[in-house]
């Protein structure tokens, strides 16, 4: 009988662990790493936000990782990291890839692209001589076209 109860307890623990992310509390160390709120919030939030076609084990992994790291790190570091990671070439390519579609943009969208060209220019001016020459010309052609399209809009 005691063995049966023990087996049921183990089965319950495994079930909770698999479906709701609750750890198997086998020792003090693992119990200490788990936030007190994790079990309470996990079942309520994770299934609601997971996509409908998420794999069956998705809810089990979400609570274990998200609460521990996301609130503390994302807001503080994300914007700065994003700024530094968007290098000049990525920005250049993003702006100038739009020239072929430029006739379909609104004047405001075009002006925003021109502003981005102007903001990018000082960054390209810091490159070495040959690269600077090539990319300043390319940026200028791109900017000039955008301005041309703004000025060609009906009513201008």
């Amino acid at each position: 009988m005691r063995n049966t109860e023990k087996s049921l307890a183990i089965a319950l623990a495994i079930t909770l662990s698999v479906f709701f992310g609750m750890p198997l509390l086998t020792d003090g160390a693992s119990a200490a790493t788990v936030p007190a709120t994790a079990p309470a919030t996990a079942p309520a939030t994770a299934p609601a936000t997971a996509p409908a076609n998420a794999p069956a084990n998705a809810p089990a992994t979400v609570p274990a990782t998200v609460p521990a790291t996301a609130p503390a790190t994302v807001p503080a570091t994300a914007p700065a990291t994003a700024d530094t990671q968007v290098d000049w070439k990525t920005e250049f390519e993003d702006i100038c890839s739009k020239t072929q579609d430029s006739m379909s943009f609104t004047t405001e969208e075009l002006k925003s692209l021109v502003d981005r060209c102007d903001a990018l220019k000082p960054r390209i001016e810091k490159l070495d001589e040959t690269e600077r020459k090539v990319y300043l010309r390319r940026l200028q052609m791109c900017r000039d076209l955008l301005v041309f399209v703004i000025e060609s809009k009906p009513g201008k």
Binding site: E93, S97, Q100, S104, Y135, R138, M141, C142, L145, V147
Partner: protein
Amino acid sequence: MLILAAVDEAHAKSIAAPQDYGKVIIANYSARAGLAPVVFNHWVHRARYTCRLCHVDIGFAMAKNATAITAAANKKGLYCGACHNGKRTYNGKIIFASCSGTTARKNAACERCHSPKKSTVQERDFKSFAEKMPRNTSGNGIDWEAAESSGRIKPIDVLEGVSIQKPRIKAQKDFVIESKGTGTSAVVFSHKKHAVWNGCEVCHPDIFPIKKGATKYTMRELEKGEYCGVCHDKVAFPIVDCRRCHTGGKI
């Protein structure tokens, strides 16, 4: 009268041997380096790549010697070195490296571009290439537009690592340019035909900084190398081929 005078001058200018039509002599720094000027053949390159790729993505200026290409830039993979780097391939063949300085026969390598004398190889290559192309009576005798539309040439428009991935261009509508007071037929300008080779930035706003109909331009200006004359009469078919633009028949 003005038109005829302009056309006569243009005609005199455009009587080049077919293989030499569109040839550009580049001589910014060659003499200082003890080399002959670079002889650049447009036909070799336009058979393989679009105008846009070289004049927008790689950054070659439209005017002769305005780019001021250096060997150092080529070695860094810019300008000629964007393709001529000894790694990039065309049709399965490696494109020779420009200004590499690593070849045992250095002079021979340099002379592929810095050509001190008329190249008989180029002449032979041109004849062999032209034989397979749709013919035309002017320029270098090749109807490039028909060559492209019939699939005999498939100019590459994107160079990996250099070009920006862009959506396919939505060509603007064709339009009519009236030939006011000249008695000639109007020009029907095809945006579609031009956009295939040039994209938008080659022409706007550097060559055509104008709103449709806002500026009048003359054959004299074209002959001087402005507007259409930036390409036509130099690389694209010459302006003496009147009926290609003035399609109505009245010249």
